[in-house]
Symmetry: C2
Subunit: 197 residues, 2 copies
DNA sequence: GTCTATATAGTGATAGAC
DNA sequence: GTCTATCACTATATAGAC
C-alpha cells in the first residue's frame, strides 16, 4: 500500500507538474509558441509521459482553464455565503482578485486574458463563464436591494468592475510596479461611487 | 499616365486588400490559426504576390498594428485640439471608441485585444503605446486642473476608462447586442462620477 | 507508465518561369 | 509583379521497446 499510494501520489504530482509547466509557458510565450517539447523539457519528462496523461496539447489547456474557472467559482460562492450586501460581496471579489494577481499571476493571466477560443474551440468564452455570471448576479441582487443604481445589468457591472480588470491587466504587464492590494480602498471607492445609489 | 496611375492604384489596392484579409482572419481565427495560404485565398491572389508586398506574415501583422496605432494617435490629437477640458476630452475619446467599435470592429479587436507580443516580438505593448499614453496625459492635465481627483495617474485613468474598455470587449464578443453609443451617457456618468473632484 | 524513435502533415518562405 | 512549384523545417502525435 505504501508503494501504491506513492505511485498514485507520483502520478498526481506528474500531472500537476505538466499542468504547471504548461501554465507558465502558455502565459510567458503564448500557447502557439509553446511546443509539447517545451512542456516536456520544462517538466523534465518525455513526450510519451505527457501523452500518457493528456490526449493532446489542447486538452492540457482545457483542463487548466476549467480548473481555474472552478476554483474561482468556489471562491465566489464562499464570498456569497460570507457577506450579504452587494457592496460587501463586490468589494470582497475585488480584494480577492487583486490578491490572486500577486500570489498567482500566471493563473490570473491565463484565466482572464488568454484568448481561449483560439486554442480551445469548445471553451465557453470567459464573458459567459460561471464566475463572470456570478458577478452579474451579485450586482443584480444589489439593484433589487436598492444598493446599486437601476441601470442595465451588463453596463453597471462593467462600470463597477472595469477599473479592476484594467488594473489587473496593467499589473500583469508590469505597467504597475507595486502590489494592487495597496490600492484596494482607492479603487473600490472610485468604482462604488460611480454606481451606488 | 492613365495606365501608370492605374497600376499604382492597383498596387495600393492589392496591399490594402492583403491587409484587410489578414485583419479579418487574424481577428476571427487568430494569428496562429491563419496561414499565409488563408490570406492568399481570401485576397484572391497567389503566395508570391503576398511575399512581394510583405517580407513575412509577421510583417503584415506589424504594419496592421502600427497603422491602427497611428490612426488612433491622430484621432486623439484632434480631440486634444478641439476640446480643452479633461472632461470633454475624455468623453470625446469614449464616444469615439464606442463609435469605432460599431463601424470598425475588427480594427478595434486587433488593436486592443490581440496579444501582439506573441506574434510581433518587437511590438510595443499596447499599454505603453502612444494612444494609451495620451489618455494618461489628458487625465494628468485634468488632475492639474482640479477637474479630477488627485489619485495616482494609472489608477485614476483605469477607473475612468476601465468600464469603457470592458464594454468594448463585451460588445466585440457579442455579449452585448445593441450599439454601445446608445449607452454613452450612462456609462460616461458612472465613470466620471467615480473620479471627478 | 515512461522512454526513444519516428510517421505524417502542414507551415513559412523561396526560386524561377512568365 | 504575379504566378506555380517546391524546399526546408517544425509541430503534434503515435508505435513499440522496456
Amino acid at each position: 500500500m505504501g508503494r501504491r499510494s506513492k505511485n498514485i501520489s507520483d502520478n498526481e504530482n506528474l500531472r500537476e507538474k505538466i499542468l504547471n509547466s504548461a501554465l507558465v509557458l502558455f502565459t510567458t510565450k503564448g500557447y502557439f509558441n509553446t511546443s509539447t517539447q517545451d512542456i516536456r523539457r520544462d517538466a523534465n519528462i518525455s513526450v510519451g509521459a505527457v501523452y500518457h496523461h493528456f490526449s493532446s496539447k489542447e486538452e492540457i489547456a482545457k483542463v487548466l482553464y476549467e480548473n481555474l474557472l472552478e476554483k474561482s467559482t468556489s471562491a465566489f460562492q464562499e464570498i456569497m455565503l460570507r457577506y450579504d450586501t452587494a457592496h460587501d460581496r463586490c468589494r470582497a471579489i475585488m480584494a480577492l482578485l487583486f490578491e490572486l494577481t500577486e500570489s498567482r499571476p500566471a493563473e490570473m493571466e491565463f484565466m482572464l486574458y488568454a484568448k481561449h477560443r483560439e486554442f480551445i474551440p469548445s471553451a465557453t468564452p470567459i464573458c459567459s463563464s460561471k464566475p463572470l455570471t456570478m458577478m452579474r448576479e451579485i450586482v443584480q441582487l444589489g439593484i433589487a436591494n436598492k444598493e446599486i443604481m437601476d441601470i442595465e445589468l451588463v453596463l453597471v457591472t462593467s462600470c463597477l468592475f472595469g477599473g479592476m480588470f484594467r488594473l489587473i491587466n496593467l499589473r500583469l504587464d508590469c505597467t504597475i510596479e507595486g502590489p494592487l492590494s495597496k490600492h484596494l480602498d482607492t479603487v473600490w471607492e472610485c468604482a462604488w461611487r460611480g454606481v451606488a445609489r
